[in-house]
Each structure stands twice: as C-alpha cells, then as structure tokens.
C-alpha cells in the first residue's frame, strides 16, 4: 500500500507537486495518469526516497521507505529515466542491486528469464534498445519480490508483445495481493490494465476513482438513438439535465439520461426506434476532458 498525505515538492521556486493526497491499495492495478509535467515522475521519485518531500508524508506498506530494513522486499521501482550502468551487462546490473539484499544469482537469472532477457543477459546494457532497457528496469523492480511495485511508463518503447507481457505481469502481481502503481500516457493501455485511477494535473490531484466511474462520469458519454422521428423524439427527451444533439439526420446524441428511459419515452409516444446504443467515453476522452479543465482552471487562477 502507498499512502501519500499532503505531499508538496518544490524544485527551487517551481512547484512540481502540490498538496497531493491519495492512497494506492494492494490487490489491484492502480493507474497514474496525467499530462506531461503533471508531477507523476516526481511523485514516484519521492515514493522511492530519491527526492525528499518539501512537506507532507509518503508511506510505503505503512512505513517511511528510507527507513525500511529490507527495501527490496518493500518496493520495486522502475523509473522513467534510464537507471542502469551502460558499461555493465544486464546480469551485472541486476546482480549489483540484488547483492544489497543478499539475493543470489538464481533469483537474478529468474528475473532475467521472466523479462525475456535471457539471450542478452551477458551483453553490456549500453547497447540495449529502449524496449530492452525497459525490460531490464522491470526485471530490477521485480528482483526482491516486493510487496509494492511502482512502474513509471513501463510500456514506453515496448513492442506489442512487450506491452502484452507488461499487462499480464501487472495483473498477476496484483492478483498475488501486491500493490501495483503504474503511470502511463497511453490511456487505452490503462483502460485494459488498471482498475483504479489516480489522475494528476499540474501537480494537483484531479481525481482518485475507478476506471469505470472515470469514464462513466465523463459527459461525452451518452446514448446514440436512430429514429425516423428524430425531431419529435428529440423534443420529448430534452429537459433539465438532458442534452440532445440532432444534426438533422435520423441520429440523436443524447446525454444526461439512460437508454432505458429513452426507450420508454419512445414507446409511450409510439415512435419507432431502430437503434439505441449507450456509448461510454473512452478513457482517453475522459482524461482529456478532466485534465483540460484543470489546466484552464489553473491558467485562470494564476492571473
């Protein structure tokens, strides 16, 4: 579990993260979303104890991570930027990290196989592609079989096979009861992998919710109605809280009410309906909508 309470991080006079509070629960994959510069990587660096909070507290599995007795069993982390030595082989990079926790070569070879790096384990990491570097970083995060796994943009640079591997890996880690916190700018990827979401904009928490609620709340979702009587049905449906968009064809885009109610209204007025399709906003749309609002809000607030 990760508990973040009132976290603020300033670099000089630039505030990267501002009064951030949220909890990442074990047992599910929690996605960490936000536009570039929202403070995701900063938050993750603070979780790993690499950057010290300006104020606020961060607890990993109930403890202050820098004081953890066995850090590798508490937290495995993949950071956004490269954090391997290019002059060392993949195996040496991993072994050096493993040694600090008394982890032996067997486990190192295990994570090498798990990450699909078996064939390149002995070659210097400096020659690795972005995707292989990511695999090495994920292998490092898994070394100590940690209770909490934090991955910054793990699918960045991965081929479709790698993306699929990450997706299954994250789900199985969560199914084992671990805390899995993963950032990504690929909303579609999050929609397939994550259950919970923490959305960040300009260093502030925008929302902490489930993927379902997040897309459900988005106002771009609605019901698509196809009827030859589009003008009449539109008039009947329109009301407080209900928006009907009719572009003059037989298609209506209705939001603020449910497909059930639209169907019942049409039946009572004896209007034929050929199609009645509830549409959800994609996570991408929901995300754009939510973060756009926050950016506008902040831009306005600074003036």
């Amino acid at each position: 579990m990760i508990e973040i309470d009132g976290l603020t991080k300033r670099y000089g006079d630039k505030t990267a993260v501002d009064q951030l509070s949220f909890v990442v629960e074990p047992g599910v994959v929690t996605g960490f979303l936000g536009p570039n510069g929202a403070g995701k990587s900063t938050t993750m660096r603070v979780i790993a104890g690499l950057d010290r909070p300006t104020s606020g507290t961060v607890r990993v599995n109930g403890k202050h991570y820098p004081e953890a007795a066995a850090p590798l069993s508490e937290l495995g982390i993949l950071l956004d930027a490269r954090s391997v030595h290019p002059g060392l082989s993949a195996r040496s990079n991993l072994l050096a990290l493993a040694r600090t926790a008394g982890i032996g070569r067997r486990r190192v070879d295990e994570v090498i196989e798990l990450a699909g790096l078996g064939e390149v384990a002995g070659t210097r990491a400096g020659g690795f592609s972005l995707g292989m570097g990511q695999r090495l970083g994920v292998a490092a995060a898994l070394l100590g079989q940690p209770q909490t796994v934090v991955l910054d943009e793990p699918v960045n640079g991965l081929d479709p096979d790698g993306v699929r591997w990450i997706r299954l890996l994250l789900r199985s880690l969560a199914a084992e009861g671990r805390t899995v916190f993963v950032s990504s700018h690929l909303m579609s990827e999050m929609a397939q992998t994550a259950t919970r979401l923490v959305v960040l904009g300009r260093g502030k928490l925008i929302t902490e919710t489930s993927v379902e609620d997040f897309t459900g709340q988005a106002t771009t979702g609605g019901v698509l109605v196809r009827t030859p009587e589009s003008a009449r049905l539109g008039q009947l449906l329109a009301g407080p809280g209900v928006t009907v968009i009719n572009d003059g064809t037989d298609l209506l885009r209705v939001s603020g009410t449910t497909a059930e109610q639209i169907g019942a209204t049409a039946w009572r007025a004896h209007l034929p309906v050929y199609e009645l399709t509830p549409t959800h906003a994609s996570l991408e749309e929901a995300f754009m909508q939510v973060t756009q609002d926050s950016i506008e809000y902040h831009a306005g607030a600074t003036r």
């Binding site: 579990m1 629960e25 074990p26 047992g27 599910v28 660096r45 790993a48 104890g49 690499l50 950057d51 010290r52 991570y65 820098p66 004081e67 953890a68 007795a69 066995a70 850090p71 590798l72 069993s73 937290l75 982390i77 950071l79 930027a81 490269r82 954090s83 391997v84 030595h85 290019p86 002059g87 060392l88 082989s89 040496s92 990079n93 072994l95 050096a96 990290l97 493993a98 040694r99 600090t100 926790a101 008394g102 982890i103 486990r107 490092a140 070394l143 100590g144 079989q145 940690p146 209770q147 199914a175 084992e176 009861g177 671990r178 259950t195």
Partner: protein, 274 residues
C-alpha cells in the same frame, strides 16, 4: 483493503529479499567495480606507470649513489616518479565511482535499493581502498626490486629494504595512493559530474603543485600543506623540493583533506535529492 474490491486477496508470497547490511552493500559495490572494464584498464595503467616508469628511470638515468646528501630513501623515491601519473589514474577511478553513476543514471537504482544512502558511500570507499592499497603496494614493491636491481647492475649503490626510510617510502607510496582514491571518490560524490570531478582532481594534484612550485618562495608558505605535497612527504615526492612537513605529519594532513571531503560528500549524499 480487500473489502474495497469485494474480493479476498491471495497472501503476498514470502520475499527473497533480506535486510540491507553494510557487508551486502560492499559486495554489491565490488560486483559493480569488478564488472567494469574501466577498473581493469586503470589497474593495468597504474602498474605500467609505476613499475614501467621506475624501470625506465633506473635503467636510463645516471646510476644513483647513496651519500650524505643522497639518501637511500630518496633514491627509491626517484624511482617512484611514475606515481605522479599513477595518482591521476587512481583519481579517475575514485571520481568515476560516483560521477559514473550520476552520469548514467544508475545512481537512482543504487539509492532506491539502499535508501539510507550512506552505506553506499562507505561501501565504495572500502571497496576502492581495499583494491588500491594491495595493488599499488605490489606495484611499489615490484618497482623497488626492479629499480634497485637495475641501478646496482649499472654501477649504482646497492639499496636494501632495511636502509633508513626505504620501507616507509615503498609502503608510503601505496598509502598515499589509497588516500588519493578516497579523495577522488569524495570529489565525485560532491560534484556528481565526471568532467568537474576530474578537473578539480587534476588541478589539485597535478597543476597546482607545479604552478606553486614555480612561484617565489615568499608567497608560497602554504605549499607544504597542499594535498599532493603533504602526502608527497610520506613517499618523498621528488618534485617537491625540501619536504617541510615530516613524513607522517604530511600524511596526516592528506588524511585530513580526505576526511573533510568525505564528510562533506556524506552530508550532501544524505541531504540532497538524488
């Protein structure tokens, strides 16, 4: 927590990771140092510079005659002239131990697994000192036997390890280089950038002593306290004319620099964002 999702969580399997201990961090740092090619290249260069330069001086220079003015120890010091270059190689290894990690980003992985941080500094210090001391001692001993054999075969005095000051000079050269690697390490940790660390190191140990040596004596009263000159008193740095500090007093001054710089490095490592 399980109530949140309405499912029962499988228990988290036992982890393989044990607690971080100083010994384990030392093993981790040794794993890195051993696997880096630069370590072996630098080690080889140090051997060539110390033994090779010593042999060249003894084999090509005028034969050394021990007299009241020319001590046996000074003859050995002269054959250790290669130390002036070897110290740069040793300094590079020290600086790179930290700046290399900051430059490549590996420091983030290193400090994330040892979040208390200071064990990393102590481990690097112990591993480097533990590598440099025996290697340079072997070099100095090899240099001593090669150089003295060459000198006596060319008609110079026979210098024995039991002559006054000779053992101190040979062992002192290794002690000097060991403290030098610690200073390099501290500079790397403090400055974080390889270029900055190497520049400062080369300036302090190579350029400044030469420049100060060329200045009038009236304004260079501090010269014996410069790290290279103070430490040079222990092994009889032949470029420093008239060692004004005693061998061990000079070495103590050098150690003082190492301790202060290491203290600053520890403070910075602990306090600053990685």
């Amino acid at each position: 927590m399980s109530a949140v999702m309405g499912t029962t969580l499988a228990p988290v399997p036992a982890t393989v990771a044990g607690p971080v201990t100083q010994v384990r961090v030392i093993r981790a740092e040794w794993t890195k140092l051993r696997a880096l090619r630069s370590t072996w290249w630098c080690g080889l260069s140090a051997v060539v510079l110390i033994v090779g330069v010593g042999a060249a001086i003894a084999g090509a220079g005028p034969p050394y005659h021990v007299s009241a003015a020319n001590s046996a120890a000074a003859g050995v010091s002269a054959s250790l002239l290669g130390l002036l270059f070897a110290q740069l190689v040793v300094g590079v290894v020290g600086v790179l131990a930290f700046s290399g990690e900051y430059g490549t980003g590996m420091i983030r992985a290193t400090l994330a697994v040892v979040p208390s941080r200071l064990p990393v500094l102590w481990a690097k210090l112990i591993v480097l000192a533990g590598l440099v001391l025996p290697v340079t001692l072997l070099c100095a001993v090899a240099d001593f036997f090669t150089a003295t054999a060459l000198l006596s075969s060319r008609g110079g005095s026979v210098i024995s390890p039991t002559d006054p000051g000779v053992l101190r000079t040979v062992a002192g050269s290794a002690l000097y280089l060991t403290v030098v690697v610690v200073i390099g390490l501290a500079l790397g940790a403090l400055l974080r950038k390889t270029a900055a660390g190497l520049s400062v190191f080369a300036a302090v140990f190579f350029v400044v002593p030469i420049v100060v040596g060329a200045l009038p004596h009236q304004i260079t009263g501090f010269a014996p306290y410069l790290p290279a000159n103070a430490g040079g008193a222990l092994w009889g740095n032949p470029l420093t004319t008239g060692h004004e500090l005693g061998p061990w007093a000079g070495f103590a001054v050098l150690c003082g620099y190492a301790i202060v710089l290491t203290g600053l490095a520890a403070w910075r490592l602990r306090r600053r964002d990685a």
